[in-house]
Symmetry: C2
Subunit: 151 residues, 2 copies
């Protein structure tokens, strides 16, 4: 193998850039689940006054044991309150996060619909995309969705 001349001046690969983005993506992953949980809990409370382990397990297609595990982390993070054998509630902080997430979700969803995608596809892709949109991108999405909506 040839000696290699210090790959500092890559054409496609701006290293700092890529590294930053990877790091951010890793961090986002850590919060995605939390966001999904608080959003689901908020919705469940809206509809049934409480969110139970079983509801969440069904919703996320995981076992109750997994929900428990995750709830413990969310509690440590100050997003939910939970007492043994009782249902789960949001802290103020959790409620706030849930609202932000719901708004963001709405924006992405409406945006994808405005591109002409089906509800099914839009709903599916929103789930994956919503956690990775910067404020700038969200603003752009919102603008487009609003324009399309008013026509």
């Amino acid at each position: 193998m040839p000696k290699n001349e210090s790959p500092s001046q890559a054409i496609r690969l701006n290293e700092e850039h890529v590294a930053e983005n990877m790091t951010r993506t890793r961090e986002e992953h850590a919060t995605e689940l939390a966001e999904d949980y608080v959003e689901a809990i908020a919705d469940l409370i809206d509809e049934h006054r409480e969110a139970r382990v079983t509801d969440l397990a069904r919703l996320f297609a995981v076992t109750p044991a997994t929900v428990n595990n995750t709830i413990a982390r969310l509690q440590k993070a100050g997003l939910v309150t939970s007492e043994k054998y009782r249902s789960i509630f949001l802290t103020n902080s959790g409620r706030e996060l849930a609202e932000q997430c719901k708004a963001r979700h709405e924006t992405v969803y409406r945006f994808l619909l405005s591109l002409g995608l089906s509800h099914k596809i839009a709903s599916r892709d929103t789930e994956g995309i919503e956690h990775h949109c910067s404020p700038e991108t969200l603003r752009a999405f919102k603008k487009l969705a609003d324009e399309a909506g008013s026509s």
Copy 2:
């Protein structure tokens, strides 16, 4: 707490739907890293004829130990070949995946640019979004990006 009447007919929460989407998102996560790796390896090989552990470590802002670990998994998955103390290469399957990823990345990036976002923001958000776009959404993105590009 009141008895709850089987939350099967939720308004916002279509359970099967949500469950499906969550399951898919989990699966996507499992492949994201693999995709990022093969794409980076392909780029490195393009530019330096080989991809070394150190290059990948720098690129992803992780330690060489972590790269090693991940490469072992990619090898088990049949995406790369790697021998001790040698640089890393793609299998046919890995090369194919890398190409798909690069195309997808390009599409998402050009699309975000076409919304008027800066290179920096577009590049950042592409990293997060690209792994979660269905073929349908990608098609829509591509169409819009192409239209904007030709003006």
